[in-house]
């Protein structure tokens, strides 16, 4: 299961970063806490969205969480990485 997840994610990662139509959105810079910190519904707060034309974007997120309370679905927190000692693909 783990090997399959890693392999599949690697394929995805290569595809999205190497594809000729890959264009990380400058106006959606994830490093900018002003974007990361504001409810994204508040479009009035800044140019987090481009005016024209329509565009397609997206992301792939792979994470691992090690937990001292055991493996499996964690009660309460953390969220959204809610599985202890497991990889997640989003």
């Amino acid at each position: 299961m783990l090997a399959r997840t890693i392999r599949w994610t690697a394929v995805w990662a290569f595809a999205v970063t190497a594809s000729p139509w890959s264009s990380a959105d400058e106006d959606r810079d994830p490093l900018d806490l002003s974007k990361a910190s504001i409810s994204e519904s508040n479009a009035s707060l800044g140019p987090s969205i481009k005016p024209l034309p329509a565009w397609i974007s997206g992301w792939v997120d792979l994470g691992y969480t090690a937990s001292t309370v055991g493996s499996g679905r964690l009660l309460v927190e953390p969220r959204p990485n809610h599985l202890g000692n497991e990889f997640l693909l989003n």
Partner: protein
Amino acid sequence: MVLDLQHAPDPREDSLGFHAQLFAGSDAWLLAGPGDPTNKDLYFGFVLRQLYVSAHLEILGEGGFDLKVGRTPSYLGYESYQAPMRQLYSMSYQWFYAEDGCDTGTWGTWHANDSWDLTAGIYLGSNTFFELRGDAPCAVVQALRKRDNSGSNYQACTIVFGDQAIGQGNSALLEGKNQVVIEYRHQVPLSEQVSQVLQINVGRSDEVLGNHHGVWYGLLGANQWTATDQFHWQGRYEWFNDNGTRTDFDTDYFAGTIGALWMPRKAMMLRPELRGDIAGVPAFGVLGDPNRKRQQLTAAVDLVFTF
């Protein structure tokens, strides 16, 4: 995985826009609400997390008026469910237990002047996809004061109320009548390199978990220190009190997280974090295991590719 298609209205003239976001993976399973497709595989869900049309209208002054109809993210909270738009891999207690998710409804924002945005909306309950949750629609009002145009220097007060107005997807949160949440958010830059956000959330509910009266409140803070354009240190600290109707445990929680955000390439970022949680009762453990603990330490890392 997320695929996002959008066309934003032009804020300089009367214009229309739309936004559709396909959301797949474990997060999509966790955050699925009424109206969303559901399955038993907790590793894979598939939802339309955003689906709305929007308009900018040059009315009511120079700032104009924005209108949205459909499913959009919450107006509560500084944290986003969207991986490239958040500070750390894990999220706060407030985000999961005291805010709503992506709601279906209609919202209007009046840009009253350069500083003030006033928003009002009505929606079909917390985190639904075009389906009414509870006995009546919910409402949200927000006053937001921008201290400058940076987008990282502002204050916001948001009030949400209604039947089943709050919750992200946990079964215990599906109940509740006459819910009210008041949130105050204060984000100010402490220096050119250090950002800070503080958030207070207070809520109550009737008829949750049978006929119980729910009360919760918490204080959440986060800081980011920008070491270089590619590397940021992150910190988050939180206290959350629940009378047992949000997390299933009547106790106080304290959580502290330190982490980093490194972006070696423009379309790639890495986020390691170390997080400690402490509760007043043995609340931490894994589902199905009766062995519970009062403390929990997690070490997590995630890798995000954007395109």
